[in-house]
Symmetry: C2
Subunit: 300 residues, 2 copies
């Protein structure tokens, strides 16, 4: 009998969704950061949908700050909206908890969720509390609706050979705590959408070593990465910057003719957040090879 | 230290959402079947949002049909849309599974989900697969977006004293298998919205003994129930009909002047599904008292 431990996460997803009713894939693909629902022509926005789970023993432990766990649960989803140039609108929070859970602990988690909504937008519209068997882990499942100006959602599949690759912030070091306190790049994503012809964008959740090849593959490109240019967090090296994951920074591509202008204007508008040119896309089948990063069900 | 086992589910929810950013409660309340997002005046529909979890050992076991488990996961959410007169539009499916899960089993579950979407509408737009620690239960969290004609979503909080109470189908017997194979009343809910002034509606998920008092309280009414009129499933008695839960039938109220006409037209339009008059609403503080039904975190 084949077990999930025998197949990779991507193969699992492909098998599961093969027979599901799905919308025609006009724009966003299952691999994009959010689903994009196009509304009728006279509507002003498209809708973004995203769901994301946090599981005790996998994504967090009881030793971490409860408030930070709540912050992270909302910030992860908000980061996916940011990656498309969108904004969070409404959240639904599902919690599945053993009856032995402390009330004060779960209230702290919700306070952290509220902190992130106050800081980056979105409101609670629904959810569910459900019981887990005793001894089972706590599970949070966050679902959210976002908005993005009509026909403007940025995808990861639209980079072109020659496009310059940029990354925001500094990479690596998530294990040291950054993964609990990051800021989703909502404002930056929206600014890029309003002011620049970004050709492709996504957020970095599994490490650039895994996410950049994903963007390249989705865009039918190869890539060349300048390893000496990768910006890494103080205390980290290149290896951590490539593989740690959970950076929640933006990875984006622009046409070569826009690259210099973007760097200049960005530095004036967002002096506190570095934007770094780290390589460029090339034709499919050429360029560098990178691997690693996080897989929930690594094939053996 | 206070544990979840020391507070009831309703008190837990109230504590958790107290400090969350929320929309002004103009129409739907947290207790309604779905969240209702009103769109700008020139939009034709309002949006419904709903999330619902299924947990191994609580809502299902591995001994049940995998395909039926998938059906139920989608049908439960669809039933909440039906309860507001709405229709499912898009689904996101989150699965959290130990790596020891059989691939064939989870594929069967997804096939059951697809069956229900094909039968009652809605398409897959996103989701997530995540790993659970070994030995932990499988968790499915379904989130969905639905639509309802603008300003027409039916609520549970709008019944008036004097309104007649109806229920569709027959109640009780969920434990014997009905809870895995029910049909969400999408078509019936929409027909009611289009053809009758229904004053309040909800679906029966926790047993009429728990859900009818909820509708009454939300509407600031009492109720009188004709126990001899409750329609119960063959093989069940009144006790099962009141308390089993998971009926997924519609509970609705109409003005007394509409009651006779509704019964007559319903019988012609839906001869296969009984509609039964089971009582009426009265002023708050008077009428019957009912208790029982399902509570995830019963207060001790």
């Amino acid at each position: 009998m084949k077990l999930l431990s025998d197949v990779g996460e991507d193969a699992l997803i492909a098998a599961l969704i093969a027979h599901m009713p799905q919308f025609d894939a006009k724009s966003a693909q299952p691999s994009d950061d959010c689903a994009v629902l196009s509304q009728a022509d006279f509507y002003l926005t498209d809708l973004l949908l995203k769901t994301d789970a946090m599981i005790e023993g996998i994504h967090f432990t009881q030793e971490m700050s409860a408030r930070a766990i709540g912050w992270k649960a909302i910030a992860r989803v908000s980061s996916d909206f940011a990656a498309m140039g969108g904004q969070p609108h409404s959240f639904m929070v599902t919690v599945a908890l053993p009856a032995s859970t402390s009330l004060a602990w779960i209230e702290e988690v919700y306070q952290g969720m509220a902190d992130c909504m106050h800081a980056f937008g979105g409101k609670l519209v629904g959810g569910e509390t459900s019981r887990m068997p005793l001894g089972a882990p706590c599970v949070f499942s966050i679902s959210a609706l976002g908005t993005v100006p009509k026909n403007r959602a940025m995808l990861r599949s639209t980079a072109k050979p020659g496009d310059v690759i940029f990354v925001t912030g500094k990479l690596g070091g998530s294990f040291a705590g950054k993964h609990l306190s990051f800021s989703p790049r909502i404002e930056h994503g929206r600014w890029l959408l309003d002011h620049f012809r970004v050709t492709a964008m996504m957020d970095l959740s599994d490490g650039i070593a895994k996410d950049l090849p994903r963007m390249a593959q989705a865009s039918d490109c190869g890539f060349q990465l300048d390893l000496t240019a990768i910006p890494f967090t103080t205390g980290c090296g290149l290896n951590e910057a490539l593989h740690d994951g959970e950076d929640y920074e933006l990875l984006l591509a622009v046409a070569p003719s826009d690259a210099g202008n973007l760097l200049e204007v960005w530095g004036v508008r967002f002096p506190e957040l570095p934007l770094t040119r780290i390589g460029h896309f090339v034709k499919a089948g050429s360029g560098d090879v990178l691997s690693g990063g996080w897989d929930h069900f690594p094939a053996v």
